[in-house]
C-alpha cells in the first residue's frame, strides 16, 4: 500500500465526491470524520443529533422484521431500534425494567410473575402501550403453530394474562426464579395488539423509514420515546456488510461509524490506526467441541477426560484469537457470571494425563471430529491443532472436514463429535437448561442425567442465594469432570468504531454491541 501523504489540495475533491455519494449526509458537514489522523478527545456528556451509520455482518436478503425470526446480529441490532422488550440487561449484567417499571414473583415458588408496565408509552403509530399488547406479543412465540426462535424460552409458560390495563401476569408450569430473564431475549419485542410484526411498529427509540432485507435499514429518531436518557442520534442507517475486509475499509474510510465482528487477526493493525476505538464485549461466545455421551467411544468418561487433557487451550487462544478472549475449562458458565465456580482449577494441557486416561479407556480408535467453519470460525484450524496435540499422547483424532452448507442440519446433533458455538446466555439457568437439560432440544452432548436435571430444577426455584450458588457450583464441577462439552475457548465480541462515538458500554451476557442496543446508547461527538 502506498504511503499516505495528506495532500490538502485533494480534500475538496474527495469531500465533494463523498458528498455527492450522499452517504454521510448529516455528519459530513463537520468534515471531521474524514480525517482519521485527527485524534479527538472523548466528550463525556451526550451530544444530540447526527446520522449514525453501522456496517454489520450476518444480514440476509431473506431477513424479516418480525422478531420471531431474528437469528443474527444484524437483525438484533435493527430490531432493537424498533422494538423494546419488557425487561433489559443493564451494564452490570443485571435486569432492569424497560417497558416494565417493576416485576415480582407473586407466589413463593416463583411460578407466577407479575409485570407492571410503565404508563404513557406510545407505539410508533400513536397507540398507547397496554398490558394486552404484551400478552399478544409474547403469545406470538407460543403455541403449536409458532415457529418463533423464542419459542424455547417460553415453553414453561402456561398462561399470560392482562390482569389490569398495565399489569401482565405470567403463570409457569414450574417455578423459575430466573424467568424474567427470558423476556430480555431478542425475540421478545413488543408490538401493538393484533398487529403485523413485519411492519416494524414498536415502541423503540427509532421509527422505521426504509428496510431492504440484506441491504440496509434506515430509521429516524422516535420523538415520543419513553426513555429520556437514551436515543441521541437523529437517524440510524444499518448497512449490510458481510465481508470483514469491506467493513474495515468502510470504517477506515469514514463511511460508517461502527462495525462488528472484527477478526482477531486484524485487531492489532486496526487499533493502531488513529481515530479508531475498539469496542469489546468480554467472553460473550463459547467455542466448543461437544461429544455425544450416548455414542461410543465418547460414552466413556475416561476417554472424555483424555480428550479434555489432550487439547492445548493456550495454543488455540494464541492462534485463533491472537490472545484475545479467554481459555475455557469445559464449563459453560462464563467467568463474569455471578454463579461461576471460581475454585475449580483450570485444566491444563497435559499429555501424560491424557495418555493415562486414554489407556484406561482402552485406547479406542475411530475418534472422528467433524468440523466446518460454520461450527465456529476457525474450527477447522482448531481441529487440526487439537489433532496434533492429541497425537503426542498417542490419541489419533481423525479430522473430517464437512461442508459449511447444511452444517446445523446434517452434522450438528447427528455426528458424535463436532464443533459448535453458543452465545453465552445471561443467567446460569438459561445456559444450562438450553444445552444440558435432558429434554432440551439442543442438548448437543446428549447429556441425560436425572440427578443433574433435579438439581437444575431445584436451583431454578431456590430463592436463597447461598443455597442456589452451591447447587450451581456442584453442577459445574460435574460438568468439568464428566460432561461431554469440551469448551476450549471463550471469545470476546470485538467491534470497532470511529472515535467520534461516545457512550459505549458493554453488556455482559447480552451479546455484542451493548447487547445489540448500541444505536440508542451512543452519541456522535461533533
Amino acid at each position: 500500500m502506498p504511503d499516505h501523504t495528506p495532500s490538502s489540495f485533494l480534500q475538496p475533491t474527495r469531500r465533494r465526491l463523498l458528498q455527492n455519494a450522499g452517504l454521510l449526509s448529516a455528519t459530513l458537514s463537520a468534515g471531521g470524520l474524514l480525517l482519521p489522523g485527527a485524534a479527538r478527545a472523548q466528550q463525556a456528556a451526550p451530544v444530540k443529533g447526527g446520522h449514525l451509520v453501522l456496517g454489520l455482518d450476518t444480514a440476509s436478503s431473506s431477513d424479516r422484521l418480525d422478531p420471531a425470526f431474528y437469528t443474527e446480529a444484524y437483525m438484533y441490532t435493527v430490531g432493537f431500534q424498533l422494538f423494546n422488550t419488557v425487561l433489559e440487561l443493564g451494564p452490570d449484567g443485571k435486569l432492569i425494567g424497560a417497558l416494565a417499571e417493576s416485576w415480582e414473583a407473586a407466589t413463593p415458588d416463583a411460578s407466577t410473575w407479575v409485570f407492571k408496565l410503565k404508563k404513557g408509552i406510545q407505539f410508533h403509530n400513536g397507540k398507547e402501550l397496554v398490558a394486552q399488547d404484551v400478552v399478544y406479543s409474547l403469545n406470538h412465540h407460543r403455541g403449536e403453530k409458532s415457529n418463533s426462535g423464542g419459542k424455547g424460552q417460553l415453553l414453561a409458560v402456561t398462561d399470560i394474562k392482562a390482569t389490569d390495563a398495565h399489569e401482565v401476569t405470567v403463570t409457569l408450569s414450574a417455578g423459575n426464579a430466573d424467568f424474567p430473564a427470558a423476556l430480555v431475549d431478542y425475540h421478545m419485542g413488543i408490538g401493538p395488539d393484533g398487529g403485523d410484526f413485519d411492519k416494524g411498529v414498536g415502541t423503540g427509540a427509532f421509527v422505521l423509514e426504509d428496510f431492504q432485507p440484506g441491504v440496509r435499514a434506515l430509521t429516524k429518531r422516535n420523538p415520543n420515546y419513553w426513555a429520556s436518557d437514551r436515543a441521541f442520534v437523529d437517524s440510524v442507517e444499518t448497512i449490510a456488510m458481510s465481508d470483514a475486509t469491506a467493513r474495515m475499509a468502510a470504517l477506515l474510510s469514514g463511511q460508517v461509524h461502527i462495525i462488528n465482528r472484527v477478526e482477531p487477526r486484524a485487531l492489532s493493525r486496526l487499533s493502531a490506526r488513529p481515530g479508531v476505538q475498539i469496542l469489546r464485549s468480554q467472553e460473550n461466545t463459547m467455542f466448543c467441541f461437544p461429544m455425544r455421551v450416548d455414542a461410543a467411544p465418547y460414552d466413556n468418561v475416561d476417554l472424555r477426560l483424555a480428550l479434555k487433557y489432550a487439547i492445548d487451550r493456550e495454543e488455540l487462544q494464541k492462534s485463533l484469537l491472537v490472545g484475545t478472549g479467554a481459555i475455557g475449562n469445559d464449563n459453560p458458565i462464563a467467568s463474569w457470571n455471578p454463579y461461576f465456580a471460581k475454585d475449580i482449577p483450570q485444566r491444563p494441557y497435559d499429555a501424560d494425563k491424557a495418555a493415562f486416561h486414554f489407556k484406561k479407556a482402552g485406547s479406542p480408535g475411530g475418534i472422528q471430529l467433524s468440523v466446518s467453519d460454520n461450527g465456529f470460525p476457525g474450527s477447522v484450524d482448531a481441529a487440526q491443532l487439537f489433532q496434533a496435540s492429541a497425537a503426542k499422547s498417542g490419541i489419533t483424532i481423525d479430522v473430517e472436514r464437512v461442508p459449511s452448507d447444511g452444517y446445523w442440519d446434517e452434522v450438528w446433533l447427528k455426528k458424535p463429535f463436532v464443533a459448535s458455538n453458543w452465545s453465552v446466555r445471561p443467567t446460569a439457568d438459561a445456559m444450562l437448561s438450553l444445552i444440558l437439560q435432558s429434554d432440551a432440544p439442543w442438548n448437543e452432548t446428549a447429556w441425560k442425567d436425572e440427578a443433574f436435571d433435579k438439581l437444575l430444577a431445584a436451583a431454578r426455584v431456590e430463592l436463597d442465594e447461598t443455597k442456589r450458588k452451591q447447587i450451581y457450583h456442584d453442577l459445574q464441577v460435574k460438568l468439568v469432570d464428566e460432561g461431554g462439552e469440551l469448551i476450549p475457548l471463550f471469545v470476546d465480541n470485538i467491534a470497532a468504531a470511529s472515535d467520534k462515538i461516545g457512550g459505549y458500554v458493554p453488556v455482559p451476557g447480552g451479546g455484542d454491541l451493548s447487547g445489540y442496543r448500541i444505536t440508542e446508547r451512543v452519541w456522535l461527538n461533533a
Partner: protein, 339 residues
C-alpha cells in the same frame, strides 16, 4: 480458438436456419427466440432438480441452529413442503409464465418485487462496466494486432493479462486500499438506494465497476487481437495490400467485419459474466445486486427465489447470445448462406 468459435456459430446457424437460402433476419430471430424459450424451460427443470438435491430443506435451513422438530414441522406445513416435488414444480411454472414468481419461503416477500430493484442495480453495474470495458478492450485489441510483436503489443498484453490473473476480490481490495482508505477519493462501499440520482450512483459504483473492467478487459482484448491477426493473415488482405489500399481502409473495411463474429461472441460471454458472475464483487463493495440475493436464498433453501433468479440469469444469458449471433450475421452476411 477463434476458428473454433466461428465454427460453432456456423453450426448453430445451420441448425437454426436449415435449407432456406437467404433466410430473412426476422425469421432467423424468431427461430432463435423460440429455441431460447425451450432452452429456458430446460434450465428451469435443471435448477429445480438441483435445489432438490441440496442437503436439508428450507425449514431446517431457515432455523439454523435454532431448529426444533416442532418448529421445523410447522414451517414445512405452512409452506406446503409436504407436497411432492413435481406438484410444486408445475404450480410454480404456471405462475412464472404469467409473471408471478410467488412469495419467498423465508421472508414472505413478493419475489418479482424484491428482484426488480436488485436486477436494476446489477444491470446498471454491468452496463457501466461494459461501456468502459468493451470499447477499451476492442481498441486495445486492434492496437495490439496492428503492432503485433512490438513493445506496444507486449505492454498491453502484459498489463491486461496481469489484471485478469488477479482474483477479483484482490483487485477490489487493492482499489479500496488505494482509492478509499489511503486517499479518501472514492467510497469503499457502494450502497446504492432509490433516493440517489444517477450521478451519485455512478460515483459510488465506480470502484466495483473498475474491478469488473479489470477482470474482463484481458479476455476481450486478447480475442480481438487474435481474431484480427487471423484475418489479417489471409490472402485477400495481402491482395488488398498489394493493390495499394491504405492500412486504415484494409483494417476497417475488409479485416474487421470478418473478425466481428468471434469478438462479439467473446463480448457477449463477458457481458453475461458481468451480470451473473459478480457475487464476489458485490460482497466486497456491499453492492445490492442479484448475486448476493441469490446466494442468500440458496443458503436458506428458498427454492422459489432460486428458481426465479436462475431463470432471470438464464434468460439474460440466452438473450445476449442471440444478440451476439444476430450481430455476427449482420456484420458477416455469409453466415446467412450456409454451404
Amino acid at each position: 480458438m477463434a476458428d473454433g468459435i466461428e465454427a460453432d456459430i456456423k453450426v448453430m446457424s445451420v441448425l437454426a436456419a436449415p435449407k432456406a437460402r437467404g433466410l430473412s433476419l426476422w425469421a432467423m430471430l424468431g427461430r432463435r427466440l423460440a429455441l431460447g424459450l425451450v432452452l429456458l424451460w430446460a434450465v428451469s427443470l435443471v435448477i429445480f432438480a438441483g435445489t432438490q438435491i441440496l442437503p436439508g430443506d428450507v425449514a431446517t435451513a431457515m432455523l439454523g441452529q435454532q431448529a426444533t422438530p416442532e418448529a421445523v414441522a410447522s414451517i414445512r406445513q405452512e409452506l406446503g413442503l409436504e407436497q411432492p416435488a413435481a406438484v410444486r414444480y408445475v404450480k410454480w411454472l404456471g405462475g412464472a409464465v404469467t409473471g408471478d414468481f410467488g412469495r419467498s419461503y423465508s421472508n414472505r416477500q413478493d419475489i418479482a418485487k424484491s428482484i426488480a430493484p436488485r436486477l436494476k442495480n446489477t444491470l446498471l453495474l454491468a452496463a457501466m462496466a461494459a461501456v468502459i470495458a468493451v470499447p477499451l478492450s476492442i481498441g486495445l485489441g486492434i492496437l495490439s494486432a496492428l503492432h503485433a510483436g512490438s513493445w506496444i503489443d507486449r505492454t498491453i498484453g502484459l498489463v491486461t493479462l496481469s489484471a485478469v490473473s488477479l482474483p477479483e476480490f484482490f483487485a477490489g481490495y487493492l482499489l479500496i486500499a488505494y482509492f478509499s482508505v489511503t486517499h479518501f477519493w472514492l467510497p469503499s462501499s457502494a450502497t446504492v438506494s432509490d433516493s440517489m440520482s444517477l450521478g451519485q450512483r455512478l460515483v459510488v459504483t465506480l470502484l466495483p465497476c473498475l474491478t469488473l473492467v479489470l477482470a474482463v478487459v484481458g479476455h476481450m482484448m486478447r480475442m480481438t487481437r487474435v481474431a484480427l491477426l487471423n484475418v489479417m493473415a489471409s490472402p485477400y488482405i495481402e491482395t488488398a495490400l498489394l493493390k495499394g489500399l491504405p492500412w486504415s481502409r484494409i483494417v476497417w473495411k475488409h479485416a474487421l467485419p470478418n473478425a466481428v463474429s468471434p469478438i462479439v461472441n467473446v463480448v457477449a460471454l463477458n457481458l453475461a459474466y458481468l451480470v451473473v458472475g459478480v457475487v464476489v464483487v458485490e460482497v466486497i463493495f456491499v453492492y445490492p445486486g442479484m448475486g448476493q440475493y441469490l446466494v442468500d436464498h440458496v443458503a436458506k433453501r428458498d427454492v422459489p427465489v432460486v428458481q426465479a433468479a436462475g431463470l432471470v440469469f438464464a434468460a439474460i444469458y440466452i438473450l445476449l447470445n442471440i444478440v451476439a449471433d444476430m450481430i455476427s450475421v449482420i456484420a458477416n452476411p455469409r453466415l446467412r448462406h450456409p454451404r
